[in-house]
Symmetry: C2
Subunit: 488 residues, 2 copies
């Protein structure tokens, strides 16, 4: 990678920013806080979308699309929801521009909306205003809908993928006849997210529930998956909310059960966003560039010819295209880079930067020996392998890389998660990673810890062991450990 980019050691934060731009994932746009997702980054996002979409459909959900613009009054209907989102809304007030006398383009003040419209920061309100029309009886339940959409939250400090004024996401919104069923759905979708994180992103996660102060505005419970980045900080990678009857009450959505009794509907919502792109980069990549899990890599294998002259190249072309076709037939996405204007060394660095999982180099001498060189991006191991059976070996190596990235991340997560019982230790260990410590359950202590260390409760783990202990800060009784970390 160009030496204008710092190493992770030098400046982890700047390493991330520079890598996202240099690798062609995304860049800042002319609009404050809004990013352009560039083709290479978008290709990864498309692969995430396809995998998630299939998982949603396999669990019985269907897609739909609801309006971008939400009447301001809808927000007021759910009290805590408006508190959570009113401060970061983009608001549409007019619907026409005009040319002023001096020739400049100005807002036409005569085209003012009667009621302002808010660009969706999340869609609970507009969706539940529709559900009111769709739900009449238990026969209409459960209603299991997902939406792929863009979202705007007027964040003040933004970073590519991690926090942007506009981002892309999916939001599931489901309606159920009972609280139990809704809670089951909330947990099921958390499991889908954890499954996706582990098996696609190669990212082990903590599954848990948020403390009250970190809950989604309008939820009774917020479940989350939390992943550890290479600097030991946490990244919330997905959330699943049990909304109780809050939105059903706000929009008066009732149903008749089999006995004709009327009750409000129970709700969930759940989402993951282009933040996952940031998690992917921060979890696996190194000082040379991206390291992509093969399942999400737009190019899984690149073949680079090493040659002296055109005669050599045309000889290599035949062999390279053969293996390219063999790999394609096995479902591998493979690029043969025979661009004659770039040297092999330049190409090696470029595909390292781009995180292509396997690079194959073919030279004239390799062909004579019926060999080729295979280089793994994750371990940088070089291996000279036989042409015969090379395609099968490449395919199984892609699986190995996927597995290795997960194992490496899991090892790191385990090594950097500290069980801590004293405040001294807490302050030391929180610099290095996650801390599992007793907490007295109060918002005051939570807030105090945040002030002292910048660490927040990432989650109360779902697999928490019930054990009596003393709060790491206050010394008050606690019934189990929760996970603290500094977070993105």
């Amino acid at each position: 990678m160009s030496n204008s980019i710092p190493t992770r050691e030098q400046d982890y934060s700047e390493w991330y920013n520079a890598l996202v731009e240099k690798a062609g994932l995304a860049e800042h746009s002319a609009v404050r806080g809004c990013m352009v997702i560039k083709p290479y980054g978008y290709a990864i996002w498309e692969k995430m979308q396809a995998a998630l979409d299939k998982m949603f459909k396999d669990t019985g959900h269907v897609n739909a699309y609801f309006p971008l613009l939400i009447p301001k009054s809808f927000f007021s209907k759910e009290a805590s929801h408006v508190k959570g989102f009113a401060k970061e809304c983009a608001i549409v007030t007019h619907y026409r521009l005009k040319t002023a006398k001096d020739g400049s383009l100005v807002v036409d003040e005569t085209a003012k909306l009667e009621e302002e419209l808010v660009i969706r920061p999340t869609s609970e309100t507009i969706i539940w205003s529709s559900y009111k029309k769709w739900i009449e009886s238990y026969r209409d339940l459960p209603l299991l809908i997902n939406q792929w959409a863009n979202i705007v939250r007027w964040e003040m400090r933004t970073r590519l993928f991690l926090r942007t004024a506009e981002f892309l996401w999916q939001e599931g919104h489901t309606a159920h006849a009972t609280a139990e069923e809704a809670i089951e759905e909330t947990k099921k979708m958390l499991d889908v997210y954890a499954d996706f994180a582990e098996n696609w992103l190669a990212l082990p996660v903590f599954k848990g529930v948020k403390s009250e102060s970190e809950r989604f505005a309008g939820a009774l419970d917020t479940y989350c998956i939390e992943a550890m980045m290479q600097d030991g900080k946490a990244l919330q990678a997905g959330t699943s909310h049990f909304l109780g009857q809050n939105f059903a009450k706000a929009f008066d959505v009732q149903f008749s059960d089999k006995e004709g009794k009327r009750d409000f509907v129970w709700a969930t919502s759940w989402g993951v966003s282009t933040r996952l792109m940031g998690a992917l980069v921060m979890a696996h990549s190194d000082d040379q560039g991206l390291i992509l899990p093969p399942k999400l890599a737009p190019i899984q294998v690149v073949i680079v010819p090493a040659y002296k002259d055109v005669a050599e190249l045309s000889e290599i072309n035949v062999v390279a295209r053969n293996i390219q076709n063999e790999l394609k037939n096995k479902g591998v996405s493979v690029k043969y880079d025979d661009d004659d204007t770039k040297r092999p060394g330049w190409k090696y660095a470029e595909y390292e930067l781009k995180g292509v999982p396997i690079r194959i180099t073919i030279g004239k001498r390799d062909i004579a020996a019926n060999k080729l060189e295979m280089v793994r991006r994750d371990t940088k191991e070089k291996e000279v392998i036989s042409l015969l059976g090379a395609a099968d070996l490449v395919v199984s190596t892609l699986d190995l890389i996927q597995e290795n990235l997960y194992k490496k991340a899991l090892k790191f997560k385990n090594e950097r998660t500290f069980v801590v019982d004293s405040w001294d230790d807490f302050e030391k260990k929180i610099e290095q990673g996650f801390v599992a410590a007793h907490w007295d359950g109060t918002a005051e202590t939570e807030e105090k810890i945040k002030e002292l260390t910048k660490a927040t409760i990432r989650c109360i783990p779902l697999d928490q062991i019930k054990e009596s202990g003393k709060c790491v800060l206050s010394g008050q009784p606690s019934s189990g450990r929760v996970v603290f970390a500094r977070a993105y």
Copy 2:
């Protein structure tokens, strides 16, 4: 279909509106002019997206994502572009709400944007402001990018799918070194659209170029495909624009050619939208409901059991699930509706309304005879067929239906396109369909014809025969016929 819906004969316009809602495709939302695309409608749109996306990628394009919000000043940079879009823009002026003293939610006037942002009505300006950073030399060209996005145009009179304040679309934006190459791209993408219309929507189209007055704001030439609806009116189904160097000049995007000479880049843009959903409904459906081309039908085959009691049903279940699996293995999307709370007659009407291409009914007697009943949605033909080989026959019948819909639409288009030489005839025939007539090439005559008949020039056909003639209205010389119609 419920008799609350008029027939096409009674009220074509109301038939369309009611059908879109009753079949569960879309409905109006609480926000003026914005629709909710319901799951069944969205499932069709997803199939359209998948097919188009593959066609774009097969022709060398990649996807990316650009911001929803565009600085107002960007619009002023291309003079005709701003004229075309300034009158129908949703404008963001503030970024925060607050609770007023009386407890109501109001816009926080202290959170006013320095420069207003426009919700994209199309993305040429924001995209070309990025291209300026991406294009430096001929090596960066061509740049072939597509975006799937939502769009807002503040239309005053809206109709589900056909004209809505917010809609979904794709927009291709390409950059080229020469005018010839850009024109070639413009035409290539028009061909992709025509191919998609014919082979997926089963919709024959006129391919042509717009007259100056119907051109896209900022284009040198707008190519289009125009389809005929069952009432003889035209629906513009896709457009492809040759933008010349207009946007490159507006955003100062220059490149160096191989000799180091600097020049402005040549551009195209092209798009289709959820309007295609409207075209699909209006072109093929009948008074009983939707008729969907099998390639775009979310459910291609439905199996309905006809039974007296539970014992019969469980016998039918075995046979039905066998054929369901057989069809699934052949890639057919098939639903077995064994819902015991609904009668077969109700189900027949429901799947007719939903436009499912083939319905299979299985009763006890059918099983005894090793038969089943197959009903085509397009022709309503019933056929009793042998269970043995039924799956293959269903698959080939799906192909026949796709073909038949296209042929039927083509026959209709041919019958309702009239070659006309007198003004009398023009006025008569324009009531029934498209009119191919000589035109003197002036905007005045075009405008006059529109005033007199509401018909516009849909396109100057690409296969126009050069022949001398006299303008159907003015009698002035003309070099070929153009296509007139009333349009959606």
